[in-house]
Amino acid sequence: MTQTDDPRIGVFVCHCGHNIAGVVDVEAVAKMAESLPNVVFSCDEMFMCSDAGQQLIRDKIEEHNLNRVVVASCSPRMHEPTFRRVVEEAGVNRYLFDQVNLREHVSWCHTRQPEAATEKAKDLVKMSVARARVLEDLPIKTVKVLATTLVVGGGIAGLRAALDIGDRGFDVLLVEKESELGGHVAKWTHLFPADESGAEVIKPLIKDVKAHKRITTLTNSKVIEFDGYIGNFEVTVENLKTEKKQKFDIGTVIVATGFIPFRPYGYFAYGESPDIVTLAELQELAPSDQLLKPSDGTPVKKIAFIGCVGSREPGVKGHEHCSRHCCAATAKAAADLREKIEEVLILYQDIRTYGKGHEEFYRLARRRHVIFSKFPRDAKPVVTVKNSEVHMSWRDVLADRELTFQPDLLVLATAMIPPEDIAETAKMFSLTRSGDGFFNPEHIKLAPLTTHTAGVMIAGASQAAKNASESVIDASGAAAKAVGLMAKGEVEIESTVSHVLSELCSSCHTCITVCPYGAINMDETVDPPVAFVTEAKCRGCGTCASACPSSAIIMYHSTDNQIMTMVEAYLCSPAQLEGGEPQ
């Protein structure tokens, strides 16, 4: 590492409007910071992230010849990239910047304790300044991005993403575990709320994908190993039939593994009669002029739908979310079926026909005399099967009456839930999952398609319950993210990797056994052999550094010293730090 001059630290405390300043005494924090060792400038400012705030940092770096910058504002998970860029524009290495989280970790969670919050804020700034003193600059590294995208999942989202990337002139490897492309949409003879069948929607896409010279499709296949880093991933794909394994080098990934419809055993007598089906099963029924009862093949004269089955259940893990697509699909199905069926009933909690044309289906259904009945949230309808007949009873909230109905067919609009193997997929690509069980995007508002694993995008229902049209939009969007990386051809990567000080290495191999990525090997060309890190493979977890019994491993940007100095700054008085006794 290059030697950096004596630390000259600038501390910038952000008000974030009222978000921080409404609780934390930001002026007092900035004033306290002035007295800390090596701090040559300290101030508070309305919005550090604004253009004015950014300019202030650049100006002060120049004015005071700062070589370290601490910004006390929001979560570094939000603005670290912004401020790193700002300091770099003013000639300070991005790794000499440190951010203090005064908002998410202080003002927002200690709202009613302004004094204690201010104390905590001061401590955190002290700790950050202490860390800043010992930060070291690191080289900025770029790596090439291979011009191939791996698309995992051949449903409507995966197909669309593959086609867009192929059309844009990049190569695609499309991996689908089933024997056919098309996912759920292909199976649906009625694609509610659309007017087309699933096949009409999906077949042209499959045809184009198969004919595309830039797209390689592997069906019956699964990604079983995933290694490497942004731009340079190495994947192993196994054919589930032949067990043949193939390795590919790829640059970017789009995970479009979709959802499965919840099979609601334990809900509304599902499974007790063939005449109780899910909405997905209804969509898979063979098209015919007249809907027939699965049990005896007679025409259905009365049909009922129940909404939110396995969705919107507070406190039930994986079932708390709204499944988004079902209301409009149910309204459309009901409106269509009403033309042939005498009585159509929908039991619902809220009608969420939010999308383009959805409200029209809802009105159409009402105009066709589909009966809508709202049931209370805390008293779900009761369904029993007696003498192979389906009996329903529930309380209609709006009429305030107990009602009963005996449908020939009961359709349960069930939740969209993640596929069974989503945990495995998450682990494979280092993705996190949210409460609904689907993948977490990088940012829920402004980065819905990228993830915290650089180079890995998510699209379609793998991100959250959504309908086919929305999945298609996501897919094109995720394709844009992948192409953006590939078109540029190179990307900057983190320099936060570990490094072995060979003179301290005692050849014990401990680091090799703990490294999850096989990034550490022994250099056998020297005697005794010493460990060395393949930086490209290292992802910077630092497990090796803490496991090394000889303290021979440095984890850059997270060194023992950089961590311990924060603990010291929090717990020890300045006198102690000078070698004195605690007071």
Binding site: C16, G17, H18, N19, A21, G22, M46, F47, C49, S50, D51, A52, Q54, C74, M78, G169, A194, E196, P204, S311, P314, E320, H321, C322, C327, D350, I351, R352, Y354, K356, E359, R363, P376, V397, L398, D400, G435, D436, F438, P441, I444, K445, L446, P448, L449, A464, A465, A468, S469, E470, I473, D474, S476, G477, A480, K481, V483, G484, A487, K488
Partner: protein, 432 residues
């Protein structure tokens, strides 16, 4: 394929247009954003917090604003409108009307000396008319570009700003220009506007001071807003202890020509209700709704949190009438609680009407210039919900954000990226 030009034109600099611009620029193509107002940022810049995470809007938007501003491939034309468009996919000739801003964008440093000097105060559009700005102004602190604009309608030509500007950036004689731009693809990201809720006189908006609309509420609770983030009544400065939010106003209403659901009002009102309780935990907050449409990722969970953790009360019923008391300025909401079939009269100290969205002003004119068909609701018509959800009838013109119908921020962002993808396929063909 016609000759293509490696530039895209984006009409509208809101969050969808910005995202599209960034994704196109990331591939090395040039982008020009044409924005009608003096700054990019759109509606999102006006919002205080965002659902479902309560992130502050400015905090997450600002980095995008600077990213767009600093990107070497992106040109921003503010105060500008599309004049005319000719040509076809891969080769459009666009004439852009760049209205005089009376301040030289190259020279202005955004220091604000001019505004301090300016003697004219007018209601600020950005603050929904609740606060004031000068006749020379930036709409909001993070405005991008950070360049002042003279509002000629209100300028009294006193020349004080001209004299005080050290950089000699102000030129009150400046005239409109026509900028010609060659684009291979065009993206329509014009966004939408709020329905004018005074069309419902029974709800009291514009009749009673303490009935405000949701965007006014956003500005009232915003720290950079006209009250410095203090939620107070406009009539008497009192902190409202009881607040009612009225849903589905100018949405799902065939009579008012807005038959469709505006998609965002349920969630922004739940968020606003939570923010009202954040500002004043002792307040009683009610939401009057028809259906709660919490359909996006994390939305239903947020709705549950509003009820369980914050104690926001939800009453299912369309509000019949809002009446004002004679002395207190308090309001009485008359509503049928459809779950109990009771007619209720509930007193509030403040009522917030939550407007639906309608197409922006000038949408049909723009659609005509681009030769695009529109939906009955007045939005740009998309080609097909599966085969072309961001495509239009013209193979070189794409649409994203609210321009084709109401959308929340994540859906607008996704659509922005999707439109960028489609546009770059056209642009790249020209390069081959």
């Amino acid at each position: 394929m016609a000759k293509s030009i490696g530039n895209a034109l984006i009409v509208g600099g809101g969050v969808a247009g910005m995202q599209a611009a960034l994704d196109i620029a990331a591939q090395g193509f040039g982008v020009c954003i044409v924005e009608r107002s003096p700054s990019i940022g759109g509606r999102m810049a006006m919002i205080d917090k965002t659902f479902p995470t309560l992130d502050c809007s400015a905090c997450i938007l600002t980095p995008k604003l600077s990213e767009v501003l600093r990107h070497p491939n992106i040109t921003i034309l503010t105060n500008s409108e599309v004049g005319s468009v000719s040509g076809k996919a891969g080769d459009y000739k666009v004439r852009i009307l760049k209205k005089a801003r009376y301040v030289d964008e190259e020279k202005c440093s955004g220091c604000g000396d001019c505004a301090t000097e300016c003697p004219v105060e007018v209601p600020s559009e950005f603050d929904q008319g609740l606060g004031f700005r000068k006749a020379i102004y930036v709409p909001f602190p993070q405005a991008t570009p950070n360049v002042y604009t003279v509002d000629m309608d209100n300028c009294i030509m006193c020349n004080r700003c001209v004299k005080v500007c050290e950089r000699e950036a102000i030129d009150l004689e400046m005239v409109d220009e026509i900028v010609e731009f060659d684009a291979g693809a065009i993206i329509v990201a014009t966004g939408a506007q709020l329905f004018d809720v005074s069309a419902y006189p029974r709800l009291g908006y514009s009749l009673y001071d303490n009935v405000i609309n949701a965007m006014e509420f956003e500005r009232l609770v915003n720290a950079a807003g006209p009250t410095g983030g203090h939620l107070i009544r406009l009539s008497d400065g009192k902190v409202p202890m009881s607040i009612g939010f009225i849903q589905c106003v100018g949405a799902r209403d065939v009579q008012k020509g807005v038959p469709y659901c505006s998609r965002i009002c349920c969630m922004y009102s739940i968020k606003n209700a939570v923010m009202a309780m954040e500002h004043n935990p002792d307040a009683k907050v009610w939401v009057y709704y028809a259906d709660i449409r919490a359909f996006g990722k994390g939305f239903e969970e947020f709705y549950e949190m509003a009820k369980a953790r914050f104690g926001v009360r939800f009453l299912r019923g369309r509000v019949a009438e809002v009446m004002q008391g004679t002395h207190s300025g308090n309001l009485v909401v008359k509503v049928e609680d459809t779950e109990t079939s009771e007619i209720r009269l509930i007193e509030h100290e403040m009522v917030i009407v939550s407007p639906g969205m309608i197409p922006p002003e000038g949408m049909s004119k723009l659609a005509r210039k681009l030769g695009l068909p529109m939906t009955d609701d007045g939005y740009i018509k998309i080609e097909h919900s599966f085969f072309g959800p961001v495509a239009t009838k013209d193979p070189g013109v794409f649409v994203c954000g609210m321009a084709d119908g109401p959308k929340d921020i994540p859906d607008s962002v996704s659509a922005g990226s999707a439109a960028a993808m489609k546009a770059t396929i056209i642009l790249a063909k020209g390069e081959e």
